[in-house]
Amino acid sequence: MSEIQRLNKAVTPLVEQAQAGDQEALSELLRGCHPAVHRWALSLTADPDDADDVAQEVLVRLHRSLGRFEARSRFTTWLYQVTRNAARDQRRRRERTERWATHEYREELQPRADQADRLDELHRSNVADLVKSFFDELPERQREVFDLVDLQDCRPVEVSEMLGMNPSTVRAHLLRARRTIRKRILERHPEMAEEYGR
């Protein structure tokens, strides 16, 4: 059972209670969702600080809009859509800020110390230098699909439902992402570089 299936099973009973006005159920629901939402946001934004903001925004939206969830899809599918929308809005805000920032101001937008510490968490293992950068460089849709299927063990059919995407399109994105990342992994090995190197 994937993390998402486990989450869905755990929070589904809370959704109805929260919709009926049970504040304790609502808090428990938000607590249950926060780690998964943050994890998705990290993949969608490729930035720990943005992921924090997106996760916080999703909790607020969940608080306000839970009444609009009509159970026509799985709760986690709906929640993932809310997270994607929040990540999209965050990206637009960031783009606007960066567009308007002057050269001097841009310097202030460089990673702060606390952000640098958190990026270090990633860089502490060799994987950060190697695969994390490959992962971050993937086109967003490929990164999203690769993350959900290969890193979070979701079934492709589940992912196609979550992303509202045709299963064959999901598979195409997945194979392209795998090919890009794996080629680059193998290029790094001297004995394999000749075969996979560009």
Partner: protein, 155 residues
């Protein structure tokens, strides 16, 4: 299957196959060929490490604090006055227009008020047709001088 074919397939295969699981040609080749097995293991190891690295990035704010903030933020939302006014006017304008048109028709044709039927109520004259409208629709029926023609205005 030779190594060249196997290495091409390694780039897109499922992780289980890379681990030599199952009876596919690739899985069998991975089990039998040490070099291809080394490549497959490298891919699996790096992808697992990536998954682990992403999982170790925790939110800067604890879940407890994030939930409390969300509750505050959701409660603090004030509905702006302007949209509410807009909505109220949006409902009033068609009704006012309907009343005006009805007034003009009544005055110009000398029609008695009994000839006008307002939506949702029983017809006041036998000549008014039965209008089949959804509950959410409001309508006004105007009789004309021609008994075969009535005007039904949905708004």
């Amino acid at each position: 299957m030779n190594c060249t074919e196997a290495r091409e397939l390694l780039l897109e295969a499922e992780l289980a196959e890379l681990g030599g699981e199952g009876e596919s040609e690739l899985a069998r080749h991975v089990r039998d060929c040490a070099q291809c097995r080394a490549m497959a293991r490298e891919i699996v190891a790096q992808e697992r490490a990536l998954a682990q690295a992403l999982a170790t990035v925790r939110p800067a704010v604890s879940t407890q604090a994030a939930v409390a903030r969300a509750a505050d933020a959701a409660g603090a939302r004030v509905v702006p006055l302007r949209p509410r006014w807009k909505r109220r006017w949006a409902a009033l304008v068609p009704a006012a227009l309907a009343a005006t048109v009805a007034g003009i028709l009544l005055t110009s044709n000398g029609t008695s008020p009994a000839d006008v039927s307002w939506g949702g109520e029983a017809p006041v004259t036998a000549a008014v047709p039965v209008v089949d409208a959804a509950d959410s629709k409001t309508f006004v029926v105007f009789n004309t001088d021609n008994p075969d023609i009535v005007v039904v205005w949905f708004y």
